[in-house]
């Protein structure tokens, strides 16, 4: 049992991180039918902004605990500025195009942002270890784990629950569900769909930036960190079923657990464990675990 416990915990921690990454992606796809490659750039922007914000805070000699607030602020600022900028400035002119073309549009945005990040922050890595080291360690099965991982798991839970509440328990959320279900009909009923698109994209962007901001203290923030998460997040979302929030959560957990078990028992296979899971799930369930049923149109 003591062998299994660390594997499960690592899997849950990694899964929580994956969920933060994929929640925004699946939300945007569910509402707008855009598979957003630029999600990776927003993640990277969030991480870089977190380093700048929290770095400035710590350099100002302010209490170190406040750096956690700076992480959240960085995510909100990036999401709140870049999200609307992208949606209003670019994406709104692209609606109605083929899904694949939209993937390419966001891929172009991703390429542009890679260089923008390089021009703003340079190519040297940025480090922000304080928030990670500050809460200390706890012990599990005789091994030391950072408390920060617990915070990450907590954040993933809070984010997931908040999204579910906003979608199913508020008026705006129910209107959004109507838009997802039938865009034309919602418009005919007088729902301002364009405003919902803006709001969805902004929330999705903020979630991506939040993922980045919360990751920044645990890693070295380097050019190209966005690339690594795109395909990971894609895999999770596809495994769960595109557009399904519960699916993303389950997919994230599944991938997290499989990965940590592979690392422990079969480290050579780590490189393709995630893709193997994706392939197996898609072979068994062609539209993911929680596929959203669509009416067949003749």
């Amino acid at each position: 049992m003591s062998n299994i416990l660390p594997v499960v915990f690592d899997g849950i921690a990694y899964g929580s991180w994956l969920f933060l990454m994929s929640a925004g992606l699946t939300l945007i796809y569910g509402v707008m039918r855009i598979l957003n490659v630029a999600h990776g750039s927003l993640y990277a922007l969030g991480a870089y902004a977190a380093c700048s914000f929290a770095g400035a805070w710590l350099n100002g000699g302010l209490p170190a605990a406040g750096s956690f607030g700076m992480l959240l602020l960085a995510a909100i600022v990036v999401g709140g500025l870049v999200g609307p900028l992208l949606e209003r400035g670019l994406l709104q002119w692209m609606y109605g195009k083929d899904e694949v073309v939209l993937v390419l549009v966001t891929y172009a945005v991703f390429l542009i942002m890679e260089d923008v990040i390089k021009l703003v922050w340079g190519v040297d890595s940025l480090l922000l270890p304080e928030p990670y080291a500050l809460p200390g360690n706890f012990s599990l099965g005789g091994l030391a784990y950072p408390v920060y991982n617990l915070l990450l798991i907590g954040m993933a839970l809070v984010t997931g629950l908040a999204l579910v509440w906003a979608l199913y328990r508020t008026r705006q959320g129910k209107l959004l569900l109507a838009v997802i279900h039938d865009r034309e009909m919602s418009m005919a009923m007088g729902i301002n769909v364009s405003r919902f698109y803006l709001a969805t994209f902004t929330v999705g962007a903020t979630l991506a930036a939040l993922g980045g901001a919360l990751t920044a203290p645990t890693v070295a923030v380097t050019p190209g960190i966005g690339v690594e998460v795109i395909v990971l997040a894609f895999a999770v979302v596809v495994i769960g079923g595109l557009g399904s929030l519960g699916g993303a959560a389950l997919g994230a957990l599944l991938v997290g657990l499989v990965r940590s078990a592979t690392v422990r028992y079969w480290p050579e296979a780590e490189l393709f464990s995630i893709y193997a899971v994706m392939a197996i799930v898609l072979i068994a369930r062609p539209k993911g675990l929680f596929a959203v049923q669509e009416a067949r149109k003749i």
Binding site: A108, I112, G288
Partner: protein
């Protein structure tokens, strides 16, 4: 007849290029041709409304098949390599197509991506194949005829051009007829196609087979040009590049993939030579501009030019 004449002219021009152009241009033309062949296959697939984000799988299989011939079995004949690569791509596609032909839309795209990434993982783990470093390949003959040193790439370009022209003509014949209209019908409304008694599965399967074969061929052409293979050929960014070139050119013409590939290579070279710090941004902006202002691909520009002329 028109198509045949156009193909003959294109082939003659490519031979002239192969014989007269400086080495660096021969190489660039060869690479553009290789990618053009892969994208041609992608265009066939796109006629059925499917986009593969995993053509790197077949591109890589083709490249490695060609390279392994020289590396493991010491067969250094370019013609054998090209044939083996196309066969390898085709065989794998015949197998995976049984599965993939059931998928549509983004799920087709993502499953093909997953499969190509699994191959990537396998290649990275293969220390005997040099892992991510890859290995060199040497082709010294063509149908058993040895060529003078310094002439290799020129001969490859002519061989590649012949392959490309033949492939393009065959695809043209296929898409221009009954099969092409069936493919478009599958894209527009699959259900109606099956009510009419045709099998969308079969259409998708065969188009996938063609795409895989052509991507394998393209992989070998690229490997011959570069003289080196590595797992990057199967990575998702390589597959993404093919999709980009396909969109850049548009799907209306079988010439479009080749022209688009040439433009793409030129664009990337110019960007990385004259803007080494922002070449990704330049590429991204160019991509956006094309999607914004030429949604049907660059080929629509050519069509307009032709009409006004």
């Amino acid at each position: 007849m028109k198509a045949l004449a156009a193909a003959a002219v294109a082939f003659a021009l490519l031979i002239a290029l192969a014989l007269l152009a400086p080495q660096w241009l021969v190489f660039m033309a060869m690479l553009a041709l290789a990618k053009g062949v892969v994208v041609l296959g992608l265009v066939v697939l796109m006629r059925t409304g499917l986009v593969s984000f995993g053509q790197g799988l077949y591109f890589g299989i083709g490249a490695y098949a060609a390279a392994l011939l020289s590396h493991q079995w010491h067969i250094a004949d370019a013609a054998v390599m090209l044939l083996a690569a196309a066969a390898a791509g085709g065989l794998l596609a015949a197998l995976l197509g049984l599965l993939l032909a059931r998928y549509r839309d983004i799920f087709f795209a993502m499953l093909s991506l997953a499969l190509s990434m699994i191959l990537y993982g396998l290649l990275v783990k293969s220390a005997a194949l040099g892992s991510t470093d890859g290995f060199n390949l040497h082709a010294r003959t063509f149908f058993g005829i040895a060529f003078a040193s310094g002439m290799e790439r020129r001969v490859f370009l002519i061989a590649g051009s012949a392959c490309a022209v033949v492939a393009a003509l065959m695809v043209h014949r296929l898409l221009d007829g009954h099969w092409g209209r069936l493919a478009s019908a599958v894209r527009d409304n699959e259900l109606r196609v099956s009510y009419l008694g045709a099998s969308p599965y079969r259409v998708v399967y065969f188009n996938y087979l063609i795409a895989g074969t052509l991507a394998g061929l393209g992989g070998a052409l690229a490997a011959l040009a570069v003289g080196h293979v590595d797992p990057e050929t199967t990575y998702w960014t390589t597959s993404g590049e093919f999709v980009f070139i396909a969109i850049l050119g548009g799907t209306q013409s079988i010439m479009a993939p080749f022209v688009a590939a040439a433009i793409f290579e030129t664009l990337r070279t110019i960007a990385s030579q004259y803007a080494p710090n922002v070449w990704q941004m330049s590429l991204g902006l160019a991509m956006l501009a094309i999607i914004m202002f030429q949604p049907a691909g660059l080929w629509s520009l050519a069509e307009r030019w032709r009409r006004s002329a």
